[in-house]
């Protein structure tokens, strides 16, 4: 049985470590915040200029001046700080953020990531994704194993315009988890969803991997 969105978020949360400064992308990555282990201190960074993202506000207490990078209303913590966009990306590009969790349209076997446009069809823009993959120490991708049309998303080579080259350290899909020890190493299959076989993973994964 494939893992659910919640399962994917919980699995990505296992990669967090105490004291980490972390940036979570829009969508499933945002849910990772719900699975931070009790007692673990993790500081969430928002590209639009905040460290220390709090939970969603109680109904009626929302503040239009307080949103995350996904434009959702949030709250502050007693430890929070605010800063400009240039300062925010100095943190990101300067290598001060420990980990980022991002969504993807495609990932290649050498760690290339594509997640910002489909030429002629869909264009959202890269937002802060190109800066995050260029500057954050560890990049974890969370995505469906195949597209809505059943096309594999973990491929030999990305076909869509890239967000960054050789930038992904871990790929968590609804069927499996792939990880690599360094940006020079190949990806290794380290976990498989319950009831899914290694052969099924192989048949849906054009990317080369170990395991």
């Amino acid at each position: 049985m494939p893992w659910s969105r919640e399962d994917l978020a919980a699995r990505a949360a296992k990669e967090l470590q105490d004291g980490f400064y972390v940036n979570l992308g829009i969508g499933i990555p945002t849910l990772v915040a719900n699975y931070i282990a009790p007692g673990m201190k993790v500081v969430l960074q928002s590209e639009n200029g905040m460290l220390g993202i709090g939970p969603f506000p109680f109904d009626g207490e929302e503040d239009p001046d307080l949103i995350n990078a996904g434009k959702q209303t949030i709250t502050e913590l007693i430890s929070s700080s605010y800063f400009s966009s240039a300062d925010s990306f100095a943190m990101i590009r300067g290598g001060h953020i420990d980990m980022a969790v991002l969504g993807a349209m495609e990932v290649s076997e050498n760690g290339d990531l594509a997640n910002w446009m489909v030429p002629g069809k869909m264009v959202k823009g890269m937002g802060g994704a190109m800066d995050l993959v260029a500057g954050v120490k560890r990049v974890v991708v969370v995505m469906e194993h195949t597209s809505k049309d059943g096309e594999p998303k973990f491929k030999a080579k990305c076909e869509l315009p890239l967000t960054g080259t050789n930038v992904v350290d871990m790929v968590i899909t609804d069927l499996a988890v792939f990880s690599r020890a360094s940006r020079e190493a190949p990806f290794k299959l380290i976990e498989v969803a319950p009831g899914v076989t290694a052969e099924q993973i192989r048949s849906k994964t054009p990317a080369r991997y170990v395991g």
Binding site: T30, L31, A33, N34, I36, S46, E47, N48, G49, M50, P55, F56, P57, F58, D59, G60, E61, E62, D63, P64, D65, L66, I67, N68, A69, G70, K71, Q72, T73, I74, E76, Y82, F83, S84, S85, A86, S88, F89, A90, I92, R93, G120, V123, K124, G125, M126, G127, G128, A129, M130, D131, A134, G135, P161, L162, T163, G164, T165
Partner: protein
Amino acid sequence: MSKSKVYPDAESALRGIVKDGMTLCCGGFGLCGVPEKLIGALHDSGVRNLTVVSNNAGTDGAGLGLLLVSRQIRKMISSYVGENREFERQYLAGELELEFSPQGTMAERVRAGGAGIYAFFTKTGAGTLVAEGKETRVVDGETYILETGIVTDVALVKAWKGDTEGNLVYRKTARNFNPNMATAGRITVAEVEELVEPGTLHPDSIHTPGIYVQRIINGSPYDKKIEKLTVRKRTEGSHAMVS
């Protein structure tokens, strides 16, 4: 007596500085911290063929979306066009020129422009479409691309409080690009929710020193919009982010 920076309203604050074909830096992230009164006045001025540097372009008909619908923008320099159907439609139809700049690169280009730095090398975008046509340099095995600073004819920013000297204080994440954009306009116009006399704002608390602000208006009252309302029930745990 020296000339006051204070103007009675948005329309008068833009008088004499807007012209067809001009370049513009605009603060804001989504609909948060957007200089909406000045954008409204820009819309009413009928100025055309604008080149606008802004992270996004508001939503359909709100924020900069207002100027997209009225076709006053010729070119956008942005990092994100999602959640704005008119923006995406005009771009895909070839009606609007769009230069995608990664968000951090854009913030740094504006910061650099305002600080007199012509260009800088960055890893962001290396090996992607963003690098096309740009000078690259390999240092210690890492590829960097050359990005140029941005300075525009006018910058429009929104702050929470400001004084008559142009000193500005922002509130929460409504700060975003505003302090950076304020440095990059040859003329910067600020709108604030509360305009106070010098001495009211503590000098240590000022985010944008008045040297960057040439004109200022009190834009109140504001009816701030929320793009995506997300709340939690009072019974949920302290970290619940599920909408």
